[in-house]
């Protein structure tokens, strides 16, 4: 990798120069300590970029096979047609068991590579079963500085659906007609209620209508048993039937995304801040486990501290690094 200067890199990312964005994401995926130091510096420089502040971070999740990638392509075309730019990071869990690349979904995405306003990147989650890729958080922040809309696409129900909440402003859950498991997860309160629900592959009107009715029922049950999303009750999760292959429902989905982004305006800062705190805690716990948390006076104390110090301008990666240093120093002092 050629040597680079973070402020200069940041400038180029903010100008959405594809080569610079791509280079930044290479850095994000590089787990070596010096690369991560540079990521921390880069993210620090990107933090106040106009798009990073005002842009829209959309999490798109759902079980395998529901057509998320085709839907993402359709969203990208519609967003570009409205004159906005878009970055996509797809988290690919296919390598979990086989270690190979089952990139079936990726193949179904088709984009115009000469479009400077559209950027697509895949992140592998090899070895990180059930969770978002380590790099996903940083990748979203890089793309958020460069593009008006960032879509993070992730497969699965359960853990990754929970993680995506900490990265995205708006969580879209995609299912297809007859996805009984998702309904069950929603009803049982195992899955948080998403901000927008999409029934994709709704080519057959009758099936689609029944699926939407089922989901309405599941949402009612979920509310009744006390499960909830992040809203305070004043946002009603829209259920949108789409057919990504036929292009129906896409404009309605974009409108719903815009409506939710607008709805978030007063609380967006707080929501993102909470996501950053969670990111710091996740990083620190991954590195030092329960013992790290208890040594630094427990989760409540650590959370309060992360809130305070991120608020004072520290980046998540550098804060985690500093907490790590303190933990090790504390252990040494007590010898």
């Amino acid at each position: 990798m050629p040597p680079s200067d973070p402020p200069d890199d940041a400038e180029r990312v903010i100008r959405a120069e594809k080569a610079a964005v791509s280079r930044a994401l290479n850095l994000v995926e590089d787990k070596r300590a010096d690369a991560q130091d540079r990521v921390a510096a880069l993210l620090g420089s990107l933090k106040g970029a106009p798009r990073a502040v005002g842009g829209h971070r959309v999490g798109l999740t759902g079980p395998p096979g529901v057509g998320k990638s085709t839907l993402t392509s359709a969203i990208a075309r519609a967003v570009r047609a409205r004159g906005r730019t878009m970055g996509i990071v797809a988290v690919d869990p296919s390598s979990i068991v086989s270690g190979g690349s089952l990139l079936g979904d990726r193949v179904r995405m088709s984009f115009d590579p000469s479009d400077e306003g559209l950027f697509v990147r895949s992140l592998a989650t090899a070895g990180e079963v059930g969770g978002l890729a380590y790099a996903a958080n940083s990748a979203v922040r890089v793309l958020a500085a460069a593009y008006d809309v960032v879509v993070i696409e992730t497969t699965g129900v359960g853990q990754s659906e929970i993680d995506i909440v900490h990265v995205a402003d708006t969580v879209v859950l995609v299912i297809q007609p007859g996805s009984g498991d998702v309904l069950q997860f929603l009803k049982a309160g195992i899955m948080e209620i998403p901000d927008i629900l999409v029934v994709n592959k709704a080519d057959q009107e009758e099936l689609a209508r029944r699926a939407v009715a089922d989901l309405q029922g599941a949402l009612r049950t979920a509310h009744a048993v006390g499960a909830s999303g992040r809203e305070d009750g004043d946002w009603e999760t829209p259920i949108i039937a789409t057919s990504a292959t036929e292009g129906t429902g896409i404009e309605e989905l974009i409108d719903a995304l815009d409506a939710h982004r607008k709805h978030l305006e007063p609380t967006l800062g707080a929501r993102r801040a909470q996501g950053e705190v969670q990111w710091v805690l996740d990083l620190f716990m991954r590195k030092h486990g329960d013992h790290g948390v208890s040594t630094l006076h427990g989760l409540a104390e650590l959370t309060a501290r992360a809130e305070r110090e991120l608020d004072e301008g520290e980046t998540p990666l550098s804060l985690c690094e500093r907490l790590s240093g303190e933990y090790v120093a504390t252990l040494r002092q007590t010898s």
Copy 2:
């Protein structure tokens, strides 16, 4: 808690005295250090018990709503009718989002409380999203010393399905007709192939037949893309249609469990040893994170060491404690 003497406690657990088993499980769920020391001692004493060696540990998993609890009840009746004793530990993830107790499934279990040969216990997974309860491993080992058959029942697809592999001799995946998500997970290789597949709620013959055919297709695809279970190819995963409410297919399922237990005979020791190694690694990583692993010379070295020292008779909990001590000592020495 009354003071107790581990060898004496162990005797009583091995004699399957319900009060003693119950007390042991209270200890298992108690996270305080002295309780966990006593668990380590107890598990050490139980390790060689005839049932702990020869009994059958069955993991029963699947998405919510497929009727696992009713099925577990039916299995219990059939196992008892064959003159064998059974212990059940149900891992309940319902508290993940709401923190409340959605014990819907539990209510559907009905057992004769005066039956001395049947023991049922629920473990909450509050705060341990996506994974088996911390205590589940120990709980299974306690029950395994007391009963001929131990069933660990867990809800979910994904992480908990992966974890259960390390605890159970035989993994049974339960779905209902039309569980498209599970098929997709199997096909995509995200989910390991279980030892036995059960299509529950197979009251309608036509639906059940189609579900079995779908699963056969999914298994073929899964094999084709290189996903695999723990077998070396000489065990063909049976697909069994059951109706727990009507009691059909249960005898066939018990026969399949027995057949798999018999099939395992030559490799059971190795399989369980591998599960114990994984347990030590999980415990250690939960406590000290990536930094703990790298400080103790990386995952490969740590795995080899756990294999060796468990083989020499150390218990997982005490080994983890010792590794933890070494980690902290190493950090102090390098100051």
